[in-house]
Amino acid sequence: MAMGQAGSSLAKLFGRFVELSIPNVNIHSREALHSKVSQILPKGELWVATQPFHMHVGGESVVLAQHYVSSPLAELMGFDEGEVTDEEMLLELANLINGAFLGQLGNLLGVPVGFTPPTLLCNASQRQNVASQLFPETAEWTHSLVMEVEFNLEGESLSLYLWLLLTEKCSQWLTTVVEEFFE
């Protein structure tokens, strides 16, 4: 539901229909996430942005976008040419997608959502060790609930992936809240 509403908000923002894949929700080990990144990255020159969020307990989102999305998206959003850099646009995009989806999820569940500014983990030419940066060996968690959605914009060959990574605590809390929501 939140995803559909997020798509609708984004469509309003971009002035284009936003196609969303059916959200894929799974629990992944860190190892599995590593190989997922390794499988996706060679498919194209991707920018990777991460953004921490706080919804009762913390989580992080990862937005993966093709390197060429920046310019057409800036145009769609009404920014003048040269007004935003590629880096700025990608961060804005990550923030918008996260804001749209998590904002809607927070609204549905009646929970306030807080955001920390997104950071660019790597641009298209700095793809070495992305998996290790995203999922460092030193991190305490071993498994994470991952919600994966692919966004496509009508009439544009733009694909974006959004992963929401939730800690075990957050997943447990979310399960309880969703169960209560449907009761």
Binding site: S9, L10, K12, L13, S29, R30, E31, H34, S38, M77, G78, F79, D80, E83, V84, T85, E87, E88, L91, E92, N95, L96, N98, G99, A100, L102, G103, N107, F115, P117, P118, Q128, N129, A131, S132, F135, P136, E137
Partner: protein
């Protein structure tokens, strides 16, 4: 009036107290409506902009600050209204949204205050966005520190590059006169050695051995320099193939020593083929070289993985190393034995360390005297 309800720890503050608190924040706080008209302006902003609240309320933000790109600002505010979510502008991408003077006008060498700016929605009772609050955090200090760090890093990189260039040039230039010494020494030996007495011939041998040793050291410095400057082109490297090559290259040594090299099933890793080959060649070669007089050398190579990396172990049954030398041996020209005991230049392990570091990995040794050694390196899985 500020009230603390009976039985409650929640202090209900009046608007004027809230305002006073926001005024005392070390952050800029303003509120604008969908037409960018200023609805609130705190004291931090008054001080930074030299514009009093009365001067700005009701006026359009872009008219107050024509330096801020109007369209960009409108888009930012519109996005917050549209999605009801946050938006950010970091000083890393957009250092000065508001053209405020530096908080360190005398000691900081920057003209403007670097800022992080956050835009967030303010909702009305119907949960519709009624206004956008903009907060501004001064990041000038952080930025100055980062710039200083960057300056030092650049200086260090330049210094390293110059050192590499120097090592490479010096090694090349040293090789030419050394070749001359070596070749004339050869001529002298073949044509005039009969004129020398035994002591003279011994001196002569020392001269030739010294020249060859220097040649080996220069080659080592050149190799090290090449490892440092080589542009890496990582590919999938099958370590089974690499190990087979190493085995082939060392077959003579293995035969002479009566020893053996054992390879487990090795993985395919991501790295630079030539460097990984050199790395395994040096580590396995050392395992054969520093052998115990009491037993034939045996070197085992194996690999295992964890979630993020591959670890390769090269274990030998050689003379072992005291723990106090476990770090030292990786230093350039560091040797624990005389040339008479074991030949070498003290470059091999320094080269190994450099190769592993260039693969973003770690290299270490576990060893005890007389108990053999395990040299291990760990590199990311790619």
């Amino acid at each position: 009036m500020n009230t603390l309800s009976e039985g409650s720890n929640y202090l209900r503050l009046t608007d004027s107290v809230w305002e006073s608190m926001v005024d005392q924040l070390n952050q800029g706080v303003l509120v604008v409506d969908d037409k960018l008209r200023v609805l609130f302006w705190n004291r931090f902003l008054e001080q930074s902009s030299s514009m009093k609240r009365g001067q700005v309320l009701g006026r359009e933000l872009s008219a107050l600050f024509p330096e801020i790109p109007t369209n960009w600002l409108k888009r930012k505010i519109a996005n917050v209204f549209c999605l009801g979510s946050y938006s950010f502008a970091s000083w890393r991408q957009r250092p000065y949204v508001f053209p405020f003077p530096s908080p360190r006008p005398l000691t900081g060498d920057c003209q403007y205050m670097r800022q992080d700016v956050t835009f967030f929605p303010l909702f009305d009772a119907e949960k519709d966005v009624m206004a956008v609050s903009i907060t501004l955090t001064d990041r000038t200090e952080e930025c100055l520190r980062e710039e200083e760090l960057q300056r030092l890093n650049n200086a260090l990189s330049r210094s390293n590059e110059e050192l590499d260039k120097f090592a490479s040039l010096a090694s090349h230039d040293l090789k030419a006169p050394l070749r001359t010494i070596d070749s004339f020494a050869g001529i002298l030996e073949s044509e005039y050695s009969h004129l020398l007495d035994p002591e003279g011939r011994l001196y002569f041998q020392h001269l030739q051995a010294g020249a060859r040793r220097m040649q080996t050291m220069i080659d080592g410095i050149l190799s090290l320099s090449r490892v440092q400057t080589k542009v890496l082109e990582p590919t999938d490297v099958d370590l089974n193939e690499v190990c087979q090559n190493v085995l082939l290259d060392l077959s003579e040594t293995v035969q002479e020593s009566g020893g053996r090299i054992i390879f487990d099933d090795m993985p395919t890793v991501v790295g630079e083929l030539s460097l990984l080959r050199q790395l395994l060649m040096n580590l396995v070669g050392n395992g054969l070289k520093y052998r115990s007089a009491e037993r034939a050398p045996e070197v085992s190579v194996r690999a295992f993985q964890d979630q993020t990396s591959w670890t390769v172990e090269v274990e030998d049954n050689g003379i072992g190393i005291e723990s106090r030398f476990h770090q030292k041996i990786f230093g350039l020209f560091e040797r624990l034995h005389s040339v008479e005991e074991f030949s070498g230049t003290g470059i091999g392990l320094a080269l190994c360390l450099k190769i592993v570091e260039r693969h973003q990995g770690q290299l270490w040794v576990e060893s005890e005297p007389g108990e053999g050694s395990i040299f291990s390196f760990r590199i990311p899985r790619g």
